[in-house]
């Protein structure tokens, strides 16, 4: 297992995702001899996991069962330990395309946070790209590096514990893309520019508040970035349901009584029809943040 390459079978040392049911999963570090407690009973790693195929059904000690899934950045995003606010798949997918990430891309990111976006970037730029990620909070930068190792992507990433606004990204003229998710992104714009290739590249800043967007757009413009675009993408989930709608009873129909064939029974009082439909969840995510993209043009040196 690795976050950038599929394996068929679960091995000692893997991180697997245990699927317990609708929107209920938990990540497990697979370790020979270890056990994991679930609401369906115990999972014994040596017998229940190691050597099993990813996607298999595993029966727990209480007779209940779960599926064991291969980790992906998307499953990780909904299962990772939150050390900060995180980016979710909808924004991540948009960022990945709009930054034009692909195998071989060199990317700078700040802050690393809980690593939700980092894993998705690594998946996309592997096997030949590199991620330089900067996190000013020391504990967090240590923790995320540990996770990168566990997820077998540490060869693709350099984690730096510094302040991107003050100290930049630790590299110059190498990045195809830069991503900013920090409280004052406008302070890091000149560092972003410095980190990027002479030939140009793409940059993105994520901010929850419109005032941040305004300042960041100004900074991008001042630093000569082009095609500055701010967007927002919202996910809408549709829950599939069969609903039963009662039919109204308008009483006996005199016009129907004209017909001689009286064997037709009138509609029953509580007759209803079934409709296959979707309903929205009652409350949904109404805002995560604004995404501001820009292009760094070729720098004339």
């Amino acid at each position: 297992m690795s976050f950038v390459e599929y394996s068929d079978c679960i091995q000692d040392g893997d991180v697997a995702i245990v699927y317990l049911g609708h929107e209920s999963m938990t990540p497990v570090k697979v370790k020979r001899g270890a056990q994991t407690q679930t609401r369906y009973g115990v999972i014994r790693h040596s017998t229940d996991l190691i050597g099993q195929r990813y996607g298999s059904k595993v029966t727990c000690s209480k007779g209940g069962w779960v599926y064991v899934l291969h980790p992906t950045p998307e499953l990780w995003t909904v299962n990772l330990p939150h050390r900060t606010q995180i980016l979710y798949t909808t924004d991540i997918a948009t960022i990945t395309m709009m930054l034009e990430l692909k195998p071989g891309s060199v990317v700078c990111e700040s802050g690393t946070g809980s690593g939700s976006l980092s894993h998705a970037i690594l998946r996309t730029i592997a096997p030949t790209g590199h991620l330089h990620t900067v996190e000013f909070h020391q504990q967090r930068s240590e923790k995320v590096l540990e996770e990168f190792k566990e997820h077998r992507v540490d060869h693709l990433v350099t984690v730096r514990n510094q302040d991107a606004c003050k100290d930049g990204f630790g590299v110059t003229g190498v990045a195809d893309a830069v991503f900013l998710d920090i409280p004052s992104p406008w302070e890091a714009v000149r560092h972003a520019k410095a980190a990027m290739k002479k030939s140009g590249g793409r940059v993105c800043s994520f901010s929850p508040c419109i005032e941040q967007v305004q300042k960041t757009c100004e900074a991008f413009s001042d630093q000569g970035f082009e095609d500055i675009t701010s967007i927002e993408v919202l996910l809408r989930v549709h829950d599939v349901r069969t609903v039963y709608l009662p039919l109204p009873d308008f009483g006996p129909d005199p016009s129907a009584q004209i017909q001689p064939d009286s064997t037709i029974t009138p509609p029953q009082n509580h007759a209803s029809i079934a409709v296959k439909t979707t309903i929205p969840p009652r409350d949904v995510q109404g805002h995560t943040g604004y995404l501001t993209f820009a292009t760094k043009p070729r720098t004339q040196l």
Binding site: G55, S56, V240, R241
Partner: protein, 475 residues
């Protein structure tokens, strides 16, 4: 560590390159061919001068359709607006505010004034411009710029640019798949290097090309195609290096039942009649023509298609005595191509037979449910799949069928809401016009196939979502 070489030679426009022309928000994919007239935004020009320039260069259109690289930092935003009014109480709209007539403007053009200069003339000769609010002034300038500025930027193609181009110019060709929805698909399907991905699309090759870009030439993509031949016009526009095509395989879905039943014999020289026929038909056509035909089959009324059947007819020989030779040569050629085709099919079939693909992407004008149910069989367990449809009803059908059948988890029916913002001092607001819809996605993960079990008892397999309302039941 990645390749951090930043060598200008990588960024030079060469003859034969596939590039994208850009003006404002409008894109067009073309190939660089010297002495070939290109029409873009109602203007024609030649790309000859672009050769040797760097990508992302902006050109001015000079007379005779000649491109001239624009000096960096042309004073683009320096239109002199001479102060703005604070409101529009004093503006009377009598249609007489512009002193320049249409003829005056034509004269200015003939005098060789550039777009920027013409706009300045228009402003200077407008009696109401200085009374307009800053907002209205801005709108005015934008409108005029669009009309009078003759610039074009040449870009290196990318999934982002091509997806935006197709969505803006020809959404009908890509089943109205919006670029942000495509972005979601690539991520939800966990497309990445060194995996084996199945793609079924009728989106002109855009989806296929996007998948290939994300795989960077590592791994394999199997295009499952309907009709006479695989559609790949969109793939060409990406301008991939040659080795990218080594990872691309194709399999005609008209053999899918045979493959599933295990009766497809790819070693036999004589494949089933319909494949041969459709192959024959496809062989003598160019890629572009095949695409045209394939799309027209499903949507005969499509208006925006350029039909071009000249190529076929030009093959008909004029002289009687040459006829024989050509016929022989053609038969030979046919045989070789058929053998090639057979090998290709065999290769694709052997990739599929392991039923161990890592991902599945469907985006077509076909009813997706039968396609999804057939192709899911070829995935390993614990792999993601994603289906696009313009219509939610189609994905409700897929969802229901999958719930009945089992073998998948994490099913999610979604769509996306994309909003653009104008961010300007004191004039920040969402863009006034937005896309009405970007289509729907159904995504999920495969799991190990169930030992057959009645559908009724399946309900309790997945702990039910919290019941939302009385009269509703899940699924």
């Amino acid at each position: 560590m990645g390749d951090t070489v930043d060598d200008d030679s990588l960024y030079t426009i060469k003859e034969g390159d596939y590039v994208v022309l850009k003006r404002g928000d409008v894109f067009k994919a073309v190939q660089i061919q010297t002495k070939k007239k290109v029409v873009f935004e109602k203007q024609w020009f030649f790309l000859d001068n672009a050769v040797g320039q760097l990508y992302s260069t902006t050109f001015e259109l000079a007379s005779g359709g000649i491109l001239q690289p624009r000096k960096p930092k042309d004073p683009e935003c320096s239109t002199d607006t001479k102060g703005a009014g604070t409101d529009n109480r004093n503006i009377q709209d009598d249609g007489k505010s512009q002193k320049l007539t249409r003829d005056d403007i034509e004269t200015l053009k003939e005098q060789g004034l550039k777009g920027q200069e013409i706009i300045q003339q228009l402003i200077d000769n407008s009696s109401t411009f200085k009374d307009k609010t800053e907002y209205a002034q801005d709108k005015y300038i934008k409108k005029k710029k669009k009309k009078y500025e003759n610039i074009v930027t040449i870009l290196k193609p990318s999934c982002r640019i091509l997806a935006m181009m197709y969505h803006g110019r020809e959404p009908g060709k890509i089943c109205h798949l919006r670029y942000d929805t495509l972005a979601q698909m690539l991520t939800l399907a966990n497309i990445h290097a060194n995996s084996k991905v199945l793609v079924f699309e009728t989106c002109a090759g855009l989806v296929l090309g996007s998948v290939m870009e994300r795989m960077g030439g590592f791994g394999s993509v199997i295009q499952m195609y309907p009709g006479g031949g695989p559609v790949r016009a969109g793939v060409e526009s990406f301008g991939f290096p040659a080795h990218f095509h080594d990872m691309l395989h194709e399999f005609p879905i008209c053999h899918l039942n045979a493959l599933i039943a295990g009766t497809l014999d790819t070693t036999a020289k004589d494949l089933s009649a319909d494949l041969k026929e459709s192959d024959m038909a496809a062989e003598v056509k160019t890629e572009a023509e095949v695409k045209t035909e394939a799309e027209q089959k499903g949507s005969p009324e499509e208006q925006s298609m350029e039909t071009n059947s000249g190529a076929h007819e030009s093959l008909v020989p004029k002289k009687e005595d040459e006829e024989e030779k050509r016929r022989e040569a053609k038969a030979q050629e046919k045989k070789v191509k058929q053998e090639e085709k057979r090998k290709k099919l065999a290769a694709a079939a052997s990739l599929l037979e392991g039923r161990d693909a890592d991902g599945l992407v469907i985006a077509s004008r076909f009813n997706p449910c039968p396609v999804l149910m057939a192709l899911l069989k070829f995935l390993s367990p614990s792999r993601p799949f994603v289906v696009y449809s313009q219509y939610k009803e189609c994905l409700i059908e897929c969802y229901t069928k999958l719930k009945e059948q089992g073998g998948t988890v994490n099913l999610k029916l979604t769509d996306y809401w994309l909003r653009h913002y104008q961010v300007l001092p004191n004039r920040t607001h969402p863009v006034l016009l937005m896309s009405g819809g970007g289509g729907y996605l159904l995504s999920g993960t495969t799991v190990a196939a169930e030992r057959s079990k009645p559908a009724a008892s399946r309900r309790d397999e997945e702990p039910a979502a919290k019941r939302q309302k009385v009269t509703e039941t899940e699924g």
